[in-house]
Symmetry: C2
Subunit: 384 residues, 2 copies
């Protein structure tokens, strides 16, 4: 991996530069809107709906006005935003190290999820070998998918100590460069490009329809390791009012599952100390990771994220069902946590009501990915 | 219902007129492409894949070149193309009968599926009462969804005789006009508008990318009652080579499930006699209906459909899985039967290889709808 001291500064300008580097490799994913979900979000929740939740005692449920803009990274290459960071990391390594050396040593990461597939794809398209360290207990379809992208798989134990030891062995043996899944500037800058596109797409759509009195007011992003959230925060920092795609400030919010401590980012954000370990089995399996140090510096220390919110497992399932039934798109549970916050978290909704006022908000929602096992989905919905 | 003798002639010009009438009510649904599915369709099937199928003894599996263009009517209002026909039928009734009278008597149909919801929506948006006759045994979610569009529901027995008797009673009592689900010119002309849009969208996309040596060669449509297929055939008839959206002939094909006789359209087409009764429980539940008389006159008598093909239940499930996993869109089983034919039916594939030659074909595929019960989907995929 490129030495962090030689990476680009963590600014919006660097996200713009990242976008120029990767745009020929990635899809500009579509932005969808949905009248039914707008209406649902803009209707106060009933006392019956709030019964049994932490907002049961709320006297007057929030009444925000929300118009959603869904950035569909489930349609991205490999089915998730991770393609952005991986292609950017590889492009930067090509710039700083040269393609020749990279083709000899290759790249390496330890991951069993979307990042493994994203790095394998980015490497393959550049004729670079990819080494992926995966726990022996990884689900066979994930192993098969990663092999399908042409990666060399090395198995390890499932603790992070074991995985890191095997990764070091691969590096010693091959000279491969490490590309971590989220805690690195190049990855963060790559992930931020989704929010850049969203800014431009919303501005273009409003301009085409002649809607001059509205603009993108905020973006909510899922938060696991924090790569997507912190990249989004950078993309929304230092906005120029003279840029037609960013006529005003854009607030950025993080969304997490609350189940068994997966809301480490939120708890850290409000307590002032980063939480470095998480052991949650939330259905939003992409968000079981603790927040990384670089993301933390952007989200908390530089205060580029305006707030962190969480929702329970049932609320994530409800949002997932709405996305399938009403939008007809396939999303993974992690992808809909931001939507679940906007629909079901009374604190978030009260804040939007207060800040958005009569006009309400145009709210960007990052759908991070769509890689879900159909059998798992079957178990989730089949029993109902 | 408007007397068929006063309806527009069954021509492409009438489909164009239908599109002008309804375009402010419906979505111009997106057209998606997918490299992975193109590659899969353009790779010969292996002897292992053909084992156990009717093509087991094939010496040389077909090797067609296919580039797909998926017209996503699963993103249409009410989640299916049926909105097109229903809005067109209501617009035509407004023209011929006047809105006043319609608002008094209303419209009526017997259906438990997408047509019931489509007619309810079209009626509601015009302030017209909708009466829907549904079997008492209809699934509660379908009843709820139809009520959700503001329709008056009258229950009946489940045989067609019982449903028609109750429908006649409703008409006598209310003066409602009957809007049948597929066997009527106004419905057929409305459904044909999806193929019109597809022609224009493909031409625009090829033109934008500077691809001047390709054009839409054919469209494959699912076939139940035959409204969508016959409307598509009209939209592709009498093409003008001076129209930039139709620079050459476009062949139209029908796709059906083969399970327990649901391929009535195919059997009738090749035997020369329309089959008027079907009792199949194929998972493609929108295609359990026999071909109607008006569709038959277009498909068979006028020979505007170039061929009919069928596939088995396992092939429909495989295609459905690919659509979920690779395209990340939610489709109902009926919607993917055309894709299943293109991927798995050796007769169709041999024909494309022969007709398309070295260049291959740009093939439009009508994804008819996305209204699927998540629990049913769960059962379909959960057990695997």
């Amino acid at each position: 991996m490129a030495d962090p001291s030689t990476t680009l500064p963590l600014t919006r300008a660097s996200v713009l530069a990242a976008h120029s580097l990767i745009k020929s490799y990635i899809h500009e994913t579509p932005v969808l809107t949905n009248t039914t979900l707008d209406q649902l979000a803009s209707t106060p929740r009933t006392p019956e709906e709030l019964r049994g939740t932490e907002w049961e005692a709320t006297e007057r449920p929030a009444n925000p006005k929300i118009r959603f803009w869904f950035k569909c990274e489930n349609f991205q290459r490999i089915g998730a935003f991770k393609a952005r960071g991986a292609f950017h990391a590889v492009e930067r390594l090509k710039q700083t190290e040269g393609l020749e050396g990279l083709r000899k040593g290759g790249v390496v990461t330890h991951s069993s999820g979307n990042h493994a597939q994203a790095l394998s794809l980015a490497a393959r398209e550049n004729g670079i070998p990819a080494h992926i360290v995966m726990p022996t207990i990884s689900p066979p379809p994930k192993i098969a998918a990663t092999k399908g992208y042409g990666a060399n798989i090395t198995f390890s134990g499932s603790t992070s100590t074991e995985r890191e030891a095997v990764t070091r062995e691969v590096i010693e043996k091959t000279g491969a460069r490490l590309v971590p899944p989220y805690d690195h500037p190049d990855i963060i800058l790559g992930q931020g490009t989704a929010a850049l596109e969203l800014q431009r797409q919303v501005a273009a759509s409003l301009s085409t329809s002649g809607t001059t009195n509205r603009r993108l007011n905020a973006i909510i992003s899922p938060c696991g390791g924090g790569g997507l959230l912190s990249g989004t925060a950078l993309a929304c920092s230092d906005l120029s009012p003279s840029d037609p795609s960013t006529p005003g400030p854009i607030l950025v919010f993080g969304a997490e599952p609350s189940f068994s401590g997966a809301d480490d980012g939120r708890r850290g954000y409000y307590s002032g100390t980063r939480i470095e370990s998480v052991k949650s089995l939330t259905i939003a399996d992409g968000l079981r990771t603790p927040l990384g140090a670089y993301p933390w510096s952007i989200i908390y220390e530089r205060k580029l994220v305006a707030g962190m919110y969480s929702v329970g497992e049932e609320e994530i399932k409800k949002a997932l069902r709405l996305v399938y039934e009403r939008m007809k798109v396939v999303a993974e549970p992690s992808a809909v946590v931001g939507l679940a916050v906007a629909l079901f978290n009374e604190e978030f909704r009260s804040m939007v009501e207060r800040e958005g006022g009569e006009e309400g908000w145009d709210l960007g929602v990052l759908f991070s990915g769509g890689n879900v096992e159909l059998a798992a989905l079957g178990r989730l919905f089949g029993e109902e």
